[in-house]
């Protein structure tokens, strides 16, 4: 079993993940879904980082840290694409209806 400080972070990561997942499925607006994806991703990254901190005595494990770095960059790229896509979609919707959508 993991010790207390690590357990807190792991649970926090799980909570962020669950919240983000809910946000995506709730699907209120694309922006909220994009934020939810980021929250979910951060939950996963938090879990990875906590795994890095578990090493008994000595320096933390660099491998999960590197994975998180990679993951963050990928998340930023995906967010950039998602935002542009959402904006473009909204533009098309406005053009079609002539008014802003509900």
């Amino acid at each position: 079993m993991t010790d207390a400080p690590n357990a807190t972070f792991l649970l926090a990561g799980a909570a962020l993940f669950a919240l983000g997942l809910r946000g995506i499925f709730a699907g209120v607006t694309p922006l909220r879904q994009i934020i939810a994806v980021n929250v979910m991703g951060n939950g996963v990254f938090l879990v990875f980082i906590t795994l890095a901190a578990r090493v008994a005595g000595g320096r933390p494990d660099p491998v999960p840290q590197a994975m998180v770095l990679t993951g963050i960059v990928v998340a930023v790229c995906a967010t950039g694409l998602a935002l542009t896509l959402a904006v473009r979609h909204r533009q098309e919707q406005n053009e079609r209806s002539g008014t802003s959508p509900p």
Partner: protein, 489 residues
């Protein structure tokens, strides 16, 4: 040319070409076509090396696992690489015509963006099929997903953008579910290398949840019922070559990773019941997809739902392989089915694209007389349909036959019902489609010209799915030493 070089060139060549196509848009079409052509001999040579010498491995950077990442080519990987390169090449030939200079105005912009994105997609698939590292697979899956989304959105317009956005969210959610599973695996066993994990995983809560997470995520990416909802809209609004690539190649990537996970990494963890559950979801996909295909008004949607149904068959591999002793026959059947579906589905989408381009619409009811205008495309659909339904001597038939044999051998007769029922439904929607196409109307409506390359590349794919049945012994030989599961290679 050594195996070492080929295993590097297969992913790197398309990446370099993508840079080239982005930097020099006027040459994008040539760069893209040439690269996809070059991938075919590379994959072929690698396949022959594996045929003769067995599995090939390379540790990137000279660091052995678990610290480094390893690339491995076994029979399954090599067959899928061949599939990517051959189907990819034929789709590229089609795309030359589809996005070609004969099309006016805005398509010039579509063309210049298609080729770099398409090359990224090909690169991601080659990375994926060669990698045996769970985190590396995550990055490959993201590369794959983002390029697929961008390709779907290429057509512009509200429908395409909306379905691309939905696909993006599904893809990202799936990736994150998968990634959390990777975290659990690393946390539990200290490595993300699939081969090492296969030795280390034991049946514990964190490995069950990891399996569930990764399976859920990959199901979303490979559009297995009930996570299939993003597929039909994405298909129907994407350009034809993109739809072909999605159905034939992209969804197979997620399925492949699932195979590796279930039978290698989690071999000791998966239960008979869990496998049966996957099988039932597959059966639901077959039923639901086929019924939906039967009632579709539009050709592209019909083909899209057909994909949902056909993917269901692939998931029957899970319950059948778990307890099987006759693994060789089963894997041959499954892979034959996968390969033939890739070729047949790509053929159908490309031919549908030609028809839509020519007629200006893809409403099935109004396709009268298309046989006279585009005989090659109509025949392509028919030929591909034979493979999809599973009639002899197509490869689709061989695949279904071997799956049936395995179901009977293991007394899991209920899958027989599913396979036969699905084939009947497939026959039904194919007949419905073809009855509208093969009518006697001779009135020539105003049709747009279709390039020679477009029609014949689709036909070549259909011929491939049909003719692969004759060459079934070759893949079988490649797979006979593959035992997915147990102690692993």
């Amino acid at each position: 040319m050594s195996a070492r070089w080929i295993m590097v060139l297969l992913p790197m060549l398309p990446l370099v070409a993508a840079i080239g196509a982005f930097a020099f848009p006027r040459a994008a079409r040539s760069i893209g076509s040439a690269t996809s052509l070059a991938l075919v001999p590379l994959a072929g040579i690698l396949a022959s090396m594996v045929w003769r010498g067995g599995e090939l491995a390379q540790f990137v950077g000279g660091w052995a696992a678990p610290l480094g990442i390893q690339l491995r080519a076994d029979g399954v990987a090599v067959l899928l690489l061949l599939m990517v390169s051959v189907v990819g090449m034929l789709i590229s030939i089609y795309a030359r015509g589809y996005f070609g200079p004969s099309r006016a105005s805005a398509a010039g912009s579509e063309a210049r963006h298609f080729w770099p994105l398409w090359l990224f997609l090909l690169a991601s698939l080659n990375v994926l099929f060669l990698s045996r590292d769970a985190f590396n697979l995550y990055v490959a899956l993201e590369l794959n997903g983002l390029s697929a989304v961008a390709l779907v959105a290429l057509a512009g317009g509200r429908a395409a953008l909306g379905s691309a956005l939905r696909y993006l969210f599904v893809s990202l959610t799936g990736s994150l579910l998968y990634l959390l599973g990777v975290a659990l695996l690393y946390g539990g066993y200290g490595t993300v290398d699939l081969v090492l994990l296969a030795e280390r995983t034991t049946s514990e809560p964190h490995s069950w949840v990891a399996l569930a997470l990764m399976t859920g995520g990959l199901m979303m990416k490979s559009a297995l019922f009930p996570a299939h909802f993003w597929l039909p809209p994405a298909h129907s609004s994407a350009p034809a070559p993109v739809s072909a690539a999605l159905s034939a190649l992209v969804v197979k990537a997620g399925f492949y990773v699932l195979l590796r996970l279930w039978f290698e990494v989690f071999g000791g963890v998966v239960s008979f019941e869990a496998a049966q559950l996957m099988g039932f979801l597959g059966a639901a996909a077959v039923l639901w997809g086929s019924l939906q295909a039967l009632i579709q008004e539009r050709l592209k949607l019909l083909v899209a739902y057909s994909t949902v149904a056909q993917l269901g068959y692939l998931f029957l591999l899970f319950p059948l392989a778990i307890g099987s002793s006759q693994q060789g026959m089963l894997w041959t059947g499954g892979l034959m089915f996968l390969l033939s579906h890739a070729a047949a589905k790509a053929a159908m989408f490309l031919a549908a694209g030609s028809i839509q381009r020519a007629a200006g619409h893809d409403r099935i009811r109004d396709l009268d007389g298309i046989t006279h205008a585009l005989p090659v495309s109509a025949f392509t659909i028919g030929l591909a349909g034979i493979s999809l339904v599973g009639l002899p001597p197509s490869a689709g038939f061989i695949g279904k036959w071997l799956l049936l044999g395995s179901s009977l051998e293991q007394d899991q007769w209920w899958w027989v019902v599913v396979i036969l029922g699905g084939s009947l439904l497939a026959a039904a929607y194919m007949i419905r489609l073809l009855s509208h196409a093969f009518t006697r109307t001779r009135d020539t409506k105003a049709l747009h010209p279709i390039s020679w390359g477009m029609e014949w590349s689709a036909f070549a794919l259909a011929l491939l799915s049909f003719g692969l049945g004759f060459a079934a012994s070759a893949p079988a030989r490649l797979l006979e030493n593959v035992v997915l599961g147990g102690s692993g290679p």
